[in-house]
Every structure is written in C-alpha cells, then in structure tokens.
C-alpha cells in the first residue's frame, strides 16, 4: 500500500510552501516523504523534487509549439499528462516502493478541475496502483474574515472536491500572517445557528433559503471543516499531518507489521 497527498488550492494559497515545510518536518522526524511537482509552469522549488512533470512536458515548450498563451498551455500540459498515465507515470511510480508516501504539489488554477477531467483520471490511476489518496485543500486564512467569505471558501473547495471524489482535509494556511485570530475560531468549529444568523445579516434577504441550504450542507458534511496551519510551529504541522494520516489511513499497515514481529518473538521464546 502506498500513500499520496494531492495538495490543491487557489494560486497563492501556500501549497509549495506547505510542501517544503512538510518535507523539512518529516526529515527531522525521520519519516520518508517524497514531493512530486505536478505544476508544469513552476519555476523555483524550495524542496527536493522526487518526480517532476516538467520532465514530461512544460508550459514554455507548449507555448512555443502551439503558439498559445499560458492558460491554454497549462490545460494542454495537463491533457498531455492524462495521455501519459500508462507510460511516463507508471515508469516513475516504479521508483517508489511499498509504504512510500508521496505529496503531489498541483497547479493552482481552478480550470484544471472544472474544465478537464485529467486530475480525476490521475487519481483513479493512482488508486488502481494501490495508492491511498487524499486531497489536501489549502485556503489562505487572511481571506476568511467573515462568515460570507468562509462560505465562499467552502464553495471553492467543494467545486474542486466534487470532481475528485476523495476524502480530504481542508487547511487554513498562513495563520502566522493573521494578525487577529479571534475571528477565525468560529469558522474552525462552525456553530451552524450563529453562522446562519451571520449570513442572513450580511446577504440580501432573498438569499435566506440559499443561506439555510448551505449551512445545512456545512452541518451535514464535516468535509467543510478547516484545520489551521501555522508554519512557524512544529506542533501545528504535526497536527495537520496527523489529520491527513488519519484520512489516508497511514500507519495502519505498520501496526500490523509490529504485531507480526511480536508473534515471531513469542514463538522464538517458546
């Protein structure tokens, strides 16, 4: 069983920074983690890249070949990835053995979720190759300043998630940049009635039914709960990682192995 995190979120939400901090954290914890770059337009990396989509295709090359702009080139690159799932991707995945943990740093553009099925097919392919996959959705906490913006963030997260059909963890990133943390608390553990009152207050009256429907959604599906991440604090990274591990069911195989060892030891002693 192998494990994969798909790190997604709007441009500028802190995905690559998260990946590099996660990598550093795992190094100090002596835990193996491989970061994969899936952004064909990325240029600079703060982390060691174990696998890079730019070896397959890059935005610059496509822009030149097809004489198109950066947005069209990105979509084209992702479509190219989809065509190469069975050759390039499988070859690269052979470098990783059982129990290996991969973190995929994805492009920020929402179009790759809404306009092309490539990421969905990518995820299906990983699952077929015995990967436990979960999505990690990052949202910049500086934008979640009131309940309407929080709902807005949930909608954006859902618009990506609906395509992926994966268990996921939502993260409020850049908590270290947030100056007033008192507002955030109510969104980390949403109290539905208060939130609904807030929405009704801030939105025009005709949206009352929509507000109610969305709050019920938040209540029903804990998938719209957010975990804060402050990259300055080891404890914060550790907590986020433990949430993701739970999601991915990482470590359950490992426990079984220890049990087997005990059994062997028991037999020896006898």
């Amino acid at each position: 069983m192998r494990y994969a995190q798909l790190v997604i979120g709007p441009a500028g939400s802190g995905k690559s920074t998260y990946c590099s901090s996660l990598h550093q954290h795992c190094e100090t914890m002596r835990r193996t983690m491989h970061i994969v770059n899936l952004d064909p337009a990325a240029e600079v990396f703060n982390y060691p890249v174990a696998m890079d989509i730019r070896e397959l295709v890059s935005v610059d090359v496509i822009m030149e070949e097809l004489k198109c702009g950066p947005n069209a080139a990105l979509i084209r690159c992702m479509e190219h990835l989809e065509d190469s799932l069975y050759n390039w991707l499988d070859e690269e995945l052979e470098n990783f053995t059982d129990d290996d943990y991969l973190v995929f740093d994805c492009p920020g553009q929402i179009e790759i979720f809404t306009h092309v099925p490539v990421l969905k097919n990518f995820v299906e392919h990983l699952k077929k190759n015995s990967f436990n996959v979960c999505a990690v959705y990052l949202l910049d906490s500086q934008f979640v300043t009131d309940v309407t913006k929080f709902i807005s963030g949930c909608m954006v997260s859902l618009s990506a998630m609906i395509q992926l059909e994966l268990p996921h963890v939502n993260i409020l990133s850049k908590m270290d940049l947030l100056q007033d943390k008192s507002n955030i608390d109510e969104f980390l553990d949403p109290e539905p009635r208060t939130m609904l009152a807030g929405l009704n207050q801030r939105m025009a009256p005709q949206y009352a039914k929509l507000n109610k429907a969305l709050i019920e959604l938040v209540e029903q599906y804990s998938m719209v709960r957010f975990t804060p991440l402050d990259l300055r604090k080891e404890r914060s990274i550790k907590y986020v990682l433990s949430e993701i591990d739970k999601c991915i069911q990482f470590g359950e195989d490992a426990e079984v192995k220890i049990k087997e060892l005990d059994e062997d030891m028991g037999q020896l002693e006898l």
Binding site: F113, T114, L188
Partner: protein
C-alpha cells in the same frame, strides 16, 4: 503601537499592509461618496475561467453599447493580455508594465500578474474619481479582468477594486460560462459552485452569461437549473457517480439558481445582447434596493470596529506602560498636550527591550491569542 515593532512587521508584509491601507482609505471615502451615491453608470465586472471568452464577450458588449447609443466606458484590468480587440479608456497596462514587474520582483507569470494588479489597486481610488467625474455622461462601465479567475476573485487587490466600485456605483458581476465545456453535469456543478462562491465573496448581484451558444446551446443548462430532478438523473447517468453529497449540492444549487439571472449569449454572433442588458438593469435595481442599504450598515460597522480596535490598542499601551514604569501615566489620544505626547514616546522606547522579548518566537506559546488555537496543536 510600538514604532520599532511595526517597522519590523512592515518589512515582512509590506505590500499587504499597503493594500490594507488602500482598503481602509477606500472604506473611509466610501462614507463620503455614498452620500453622493450615483445611480449611473452601472459597473459590469466580467469574470470567468480562462478561455471562457471574457475578452471576446466584452468586445461584443462594447460594440453593442455603441450600436444601441448607450454610453459605455471600458476598463481593462488584465496586465498580461497581448492585444485587445477594443480600445480601453483606462488600461492597467498603461500604468503597470507586467514584464517589468516580473523582472524587478523576480516573479513567475502568475506572480507577475498578481503583483501588477496589487500595484494598480493601490492607486484605484484615482480610477474611481475619474469615473465619478464623468458619471453623468456614462451608462455603463465595462471591466475586463485577468485571464485566471483567482487572481481577481481570491486576492486582496481584486477585493479592493470590487469594493471600490460597489461602494460608489451600482455594481453587477457577470460570470462568463464556457458552455461547450460545461455539458458534463459534474463539470457544470463545479462551475456553478464556483459562481456561488463569487456571490458570497462579493455579495453583489450575479448574472450568468452562458457564452459560446453558437457552438453549444445552453438549453441543457437552463433545464438543469429549473428542475433538479433532471439534473440528479443526469449526474447518476454520468459514470457511476452516486453520491449523497452530489444530491445535497444539487439541492443547494437549486436555491442558488433562483436568485441569479442566466442569459445565453454568443460573443461571436452577438446573440443574447438585449436580454443581457435587461438582466443587468434588473440587477442594478436589485442593487439599489438591497446592497445600497447594506452599504450604510457596513460603514457603521466599520466605524464601530475601528473604535473597538483603537480602544484595545490604548488598553494594551496602558497596561505595558504601567507594568514597566510602575507609575501612573496620563494618556492622551490627541497631540494637544505636546509634553505628554513626548513623554509617551520616550516611555515606548524604554519598552523596546521588554516588547521584543515578548515577540520572540520562543514566547509565541505564551501568547494569549493562541490559546484558542492550542486545541489544534498536538
């Protein structure tokens, strides 16, 4: 506030502070301009996914306003566009050179566009005053946004620009949908969820423009929006996507559709233009009835928050000075009494060592604010 502490922070988040200042400035001026609130022109902000046809659609809008003798004004906010098929009255590219920004700040293409927009946003009050001066001569202001939708919808500068408009003129957001690419129900839902997020973020009236109807008719979309059972059936027949979440979402989206206007348009053929402008006018009326009233409320809220913040800061200052000096201090919010003010400055400097220790990384754990966060830390 301790001057040394604030300068340290500014070095790190200099740009975002500048943006926050712009936002503050705009909100303060919103108070004065909402009393001179104009009913015209109507601001139409065109947003949409990359490739949905925003610029072509805007071109069509420009042509239509000209043909119909409506007075339009065009604002281009896309710093990276190569060439526009129409002439823009105000163009971000005149003020900010995107390639220069990339070079100077050593950024990639997305960073370059974001920063260009940030730079432009700090001057945006000037743009608003230009339009204000001409308000009596204009019917519509057409705004083209950057190719990538997040750069406008999920950025501080996008928010500033939207707020600047919305606090002075009736503003309507037009979300352009790439109709041919949205024929799969899941993709459609994904797109609609995103439109819903824009509605909640901006809190402005939203018009959906189903573009490229010359390639694919948008009737299927209208059907899905009117009858959610048809939509749910469509989801279930698409792959084996059976999920209670999808069903719940489609119910929520049904409420969403009832509150927005949807028009099928074609930038190429010009179809749907009259209906589109009718929808815009109706949305502008909606704006005047609901959002305008909200504006005054927002202004009062903002002033109250400012007052609370000021009181908190003064309390903090009072506490610090008491604990470090031990003596009583006469506080002055104004500079009427110069000597007292100077005394305050001197005492602040004495506090420097004490304050820096407080703010060091080791002391972060003791910070009261973070107690609430502690349950999220292992």
């Amino acid at each position: 506030m301790d001057p040394m502490e604030s300068s340290g922070e500014e070095n790190i988040v200099e740009e975002s502070h500048k943006l926050v200042d712009s936002l503050d400035k705009l909100r303060v001026s919103a108070g004065s301009s909402s009393s001179n609130f104009k009913k015209k022109p109507v601001i139409i902000i065109v947003v949409g996914m990359a490739g949905s046809g925003k610029t072509s659609f805007l071109h069509r809008l420009v042509c239509h306003t000209f043909d119909a003798n409506k007075r339009g004004y065009v604002l281009n906010l896309d710093p990276a566009v190569m060439s526009l098929p129409f002439g823009a009255n105000i163009d971000i590219r005149d003020t900010v050179k995107y390639k220069e920004v990339m070079k100077q700040y050593n950024l990639g293409p997305n960073g370059g566009i974001m920063t260009s927009l940030n730079l432009f946003a700090t001057k945006f009050d000037e743009v608003v005053s230009v339009i204000e001066k001409r308000a009596d001569q204009l019917d519509y202001v057409l705004v083209d946004t950057p190719g990538q939708i997040e750069i406008f919808t999920w950025s501080a500068s996008g928010a500033i620009i939207t707020e600047a408009f919305a606090s002075t003129f009736p503003t309507v957001v037009t979300y352009v949908v790439d109709t041919p690419r949205s024929t799969s129900p899941i993709t459609f839902m994904s797109n609609m969820l995103y439109a819903c997020s824009i509605l909640y973020k901006t809190r402005l009236p939203l018009v959906l423009a189903f573009n490229k109807t010359d390639v694919a008719d948008h009737k299927f979309a209208l059907e899905w929006m009117e009858d959610f059972e048809v939509f749910q059936a469509a989801i279930q027949s698409d792959n084996s996507y059976t999920s209670t979440l999808a069903n719940s979402l489609s119910l929520s989206l049904y409420e969403f559709y009832r509150n927005i206007r949807s028009i099928g348009v074609s930038a190429i053929t010009g179809a749907g233009m009259d209906d589109f402008f009718k929808a815009i006018e109706a949305s502008a009326d909606e704006y005047m009835q609901t959002y305008k009233a909200d504006l005054d409320k927002r202004k009062a809220e903002k002033e109250q928050l400012e007052e609370e913040r000021r009181e908190k800061e003064m309390e903090k200052l009072r506490k610090d000075m008491e604990s470090s000096q031990g003596g009583t201090v006469v506080l002055n919010t104004g500079l009427k009494d110069r000597d007292a003010a100077e005394k305050m400055m001197v005492e602040e400097e004495d506090d420097d060592d004490f304050k820096i220790e407080e703010d060091s990384d080791d002391a972060i754990d003791e910070d009261e604010e973070d107690e609430e966060m502690n349950r999220f830390y292992v």
